[in-house]
């Protein structure tokens, strides 16, 4: 369809103002400062902020009311994400709220709902995602971590990799192989694993940012109660796909992009060529204009997906992939222009400056270490959550029938 009719909801602007004012009032100053300078946020500070949102019910605002959510429309959720991004708040950690929560309330048992959903809503539990393995990246379905039924337990053996925040997590939702006889997509199950169970070992992976948020997780005869199986044994792939579509839309944080653009504009004012600010340089003016068009395009793709979601109940698989491809490419483009500017300050990367309380001398603009961290970290944006290449395959197969 060339044009989709979008009904304007007049209450949305009031909601936007409410979120903005709430963030101004409730977001701890220290957390805001750390986030704005791109410093590492300590777990207790992250927890404190997420609990503030959780108490308000906003962490899971888009969940249906019957599962303790506020039944937000997709538009409301986007506004919420934009506003907390603009406020300089740390992003919502998606593993519980966006990923496993909806899987549990859609496919889980009543006991599982009772046990886990409130912890996610209130941010009392930190979750991580056990998907990728050393041999199963883009080809996720070839995963090998095995779960063998033994009495009332599954015994899990194997290894996961690229597990963000596993070192902070209380629980992992994990794809395991319960059957290797048929097609590889069959025989995968969705298991909830307590990270404190004996036999679980978490090992850090230091990224090119020099920071630690990624981990390897090893399972050595880990006994997981069979009641922690979500849905049916062997149907895990279906749940994983359900969740991946959510992850792709969630991966495009346009509020964060707007912040990068604000930071870029300030950098252009303070950075000079021959004493003259780059903001007066036509080449950079053009680059900024190009990025602005790119940002509007991604926002429009997002709005279009919301209209589809409203009409059809869920974003289309294709639209989610399109958004992920273009959104992450734009993110890298913005962060590249930022590095182009920082080149004039010698491209200094003081990783120490990312630690709260460091009192060394900052070289160049105050937020440069945080921005370079982002530049490096977001090289992974076109890799994580299904690489750009995989997204294109999804569109080729799913939309173009190739």
């Amino acid at each position: 369809m060339f044009i989709r009719t979008v009904e304007r909801d007049a209450t949305l602007e009031a909601f936007r103002t409410e979120v903005r004012e709430f963030c101004e009032r409730e977001l701890p100053t220290k957390t805001r400062e750390n986030q704005e300078l791109g410093r590492h946020i300590e777990k207790q500070d992250y927890d404190a902020w997420l609990k503030i949102l959780g108490a308000k019910g906003w962490l899971t605002g888009k969940w249906p009311k019957e599962h303790g959510g506020l039944g937000w429309s997709p538009e409301q959720h986007v506004i919420f994400t934009e506003e907390i991004g603009r406020a300089g708040a740390p992003p919502i950690v998606p593993f519980g709220v966006t990923m496993v929560g909806p899987v549990i309330y859609t496919f889980g048992t009543d006991e599982q709902k009772a046990q886990y959903l409130e912890g996610i809503r209130k941010s009392n539990a930190w979750w991580c995602q056990g998907y990728s393995e050393p041999g199963a990246g883009s080809d996720l379905a070839s995963l090998k971590t095995s779960a063998v039924r033994d009495g009332d337990d599954y015994v899990v053996n194997g290894q996961k990799i690229w597990t963000s925040y596993a070192h902070w997590a209380d629980m992992m939702f994990c794809l395991v192989r319960t059957d290797s006889s048929g097609k590889k997509q069959q025989g995968i199950s969705f298991l909830l694993i307590d990270m404190k169970t004996p036999g679980v070992t978490v090992r850090p992976i230091i990224a090119i940012t020099k920071g630690h948020h990624l981990n390897e997780v090893f399972f050595d005869d880990v006994r997981v109660p069979a009641k922690n199986l979500v849905g049916e044994e062997g149907k895990g792939w279906t749940y994983a796909k359900f969740l991946l579509a959510n992850e792709r839309v969630g991966n495009v944080e346009t509020g964060k992009f707007e912040r990068y653009m604000d930071q870029l504009r300030v950098l252009l004012e303070v950075t000079k060529d021959g004493g003259k600010p780059l903001s007066e340089n036509p080449s950079f003016q053009r680059k900024v204009a190009e990025l602005e068009v790119g940002l509007e395009t991604v926002k429009a793709l997002m709005a279009d997906q919301l209209a589809v979601a409203r009409a059809e109940g869920a974003p289309s698989m294709i639209g989610a992939s399109a958004l992920k491809i273009r959104g992450t490419a734009l993110q890298q483009e913005i962060l590249q222009v930022i590095v182009d500017v920082l080149g004039r300050h010698g491209l200094v990367y003081q990783t120490d400056a990312l630690v709260e309380g460091w009192n060394g001398e900052v070289i160049g603009p105050e937020d440069s270490a945080g921005l370079i961290y982002e530049h490096l970290y977001r090289r992974a944006a076109t890799i994580y959550g299904g690489s750009t290449e995989v997204q294109k395959n999804i569109i080729a197969k799913g939309a173009l029938d190739l």
Binding site: I161, I206, G346, I363, I383, K392
Partner: protein
């Protein structure tokens, strides 16, 4: 003209590559970068390079150098890129020694003998905080006092400045409108203050404050009182081509590593190298390497033969190299997936070195603007 025959160039290249393969492995690189100290490179390695004759490759025979041209120096620089060498070739040999050789008096040229044997490290402290990539922006002032000068000003982040024995500092003589001159400033002179920090790729450098730094009359590089802006511009062109050669070395190596990875990594039941879309991608990476290599080569020929269009050729090489570096570095990470994002794999370190080379002395866009402005 070069003092090197084709065979000698090949021998130089072979010896560099042998050394990297056998001694300057990625593990060795990581050990050197992990050591939390001022230099961030190996002093012992630097002495070894002196013994192997690499430091003197392009230095004049009068300084016990081999008398090679820019081409020979860039063979060394390409190897720096291939092996991610951390040592200060760019600051000491390309820029520092380049400046002394170009304008130094007979007495000052003697420093080059110390450089050749690895006993003196240099840094070229020209860029200033508000200069950006402009070559003629100098606000540091050298006020004549008695027989000598007093220097005041701020210099921007300069690679390896904190490790250098001698800084080569640009300053305007007399006042804001005075002619630009270069000064040899001992790094430990009173009034020289360093603000050290790591660069994007982990190599160390520092911002420099000069406040009331007293130097003798013999500290002024060369005997001429004429403005040295053009000389400095020529030196920066030398830096541009050297950093481009380094980038060619780095991109070629990381493209080779990526090809090997595509051949060995299996997904969907076959090596990644069997997917046509990835084949075309790695072909593009190789084409980009070749484009950069041939333009750097052409520029070196132009410089070494004194071609009237040498500067334009250097700038062309810079523009293409920056473009190639960005493509190859970025795709090397992309094609390695999560592995490319880890600090323990070489790929990310090549990405970072390539980004440094891209921005050293001006990025591709800046040179395009300069080419456009010159008409």
């Amino acid at each position: 003209m070069s003092a090197f025959t084709s065979e000698e160039r090949q021998l130089l290249d072979d010896s560099l590559q042998d050394y990297i393969r056998s001694k300057y492995t990625f593990e060795h690189f990581r050990e050197l970068t992990a050591a939390d100290e001022v230099d961030g490179f190996g002093r012992a390695e630097w002495s070894e390079y002196a013994e192997l004759g690499w430091l003197g490759t392009s230095l004049p025979e009068s300084a016990d150098g081999a008398g090679g041209g820019l081409t020979e120096l860039c063979i060394v620089m390409a190897a720096c890129g291939r092996g991610l060498l951390l040592e200060p070739f760019l600051s000491t040999i390309v820029m520092g020694a380049g400046a002394i050789e170009k304008v130094g008096t007979g007495e000052q040229q003697k420093i080059l003998s110390e450089v050749a044997v690895g006993k003196r490290l240099l840094a070229f402290a020209h860029v200033e905080p508000d200069a950006g990539y402009a070559r003629d922006y100098v606000r540091t002032v050298a006020r004549p006092e008695g027989e000598g000068f007093v220097l005041d000003g701020e210099k921007g982040f300069t690679l390896h400045a904190q490790s250098a024995d001698t800084l080569i500092v640009s300053a305007r003589v007399g006042g804001d409108a005075g002619p630009v001159a270069l000064f040899l400033v001992p790094a430990n002179a009173e009034g020289v203050h360093f603000r050290p920090g790591p660069a994007f790729d982990g190599r160390r450098g520092a911002e420099i404050s000069l406040s009331g730094v007293k130097v003798g009359g013999d500290a002024k590089l060369g005997a001429s009182d004429a403005d040295q802006t053009e000389v400095i511009s020529g030196l920066i062109d030398r830096g541009v081509i050297a950093a481009s050669a380094e980038a060619v070395g780095a991109m070629t190596t990381v493209a080779e590593m990526t090809l090997e990875y595509l051949k060995s990594r299996e997904q969907f039941g076959q090596p990644l190298a069997k997917f046509q879309v990835l084949q075309h991608r790695i072909v593009e990476m190789n084409l980009a390497c070749e484009e950069a290599r041939v333009l750097v080569h052409a520029a070196l020929e132009a410089v070494d033969t004194g071609s009237p269009v040498a500067q334009r050729m250097v700038w062309n090489a810079k523009v293409q190299t920056a473009k190639s570096a960005r493509l190859v570095g970025g795709q090397a990470i992309q094609l390695h997936g999560g592995m490319g994002m880890t600090d323990e794999l070489a790929i990310g370190h090549y990405y970072k070195r390539l980004t440094m080379c891209e921005t050293m002395y001006g990025d591709g866009d800046w040179y395009l603007s300069q080419i456009t402005a010159k008409g």
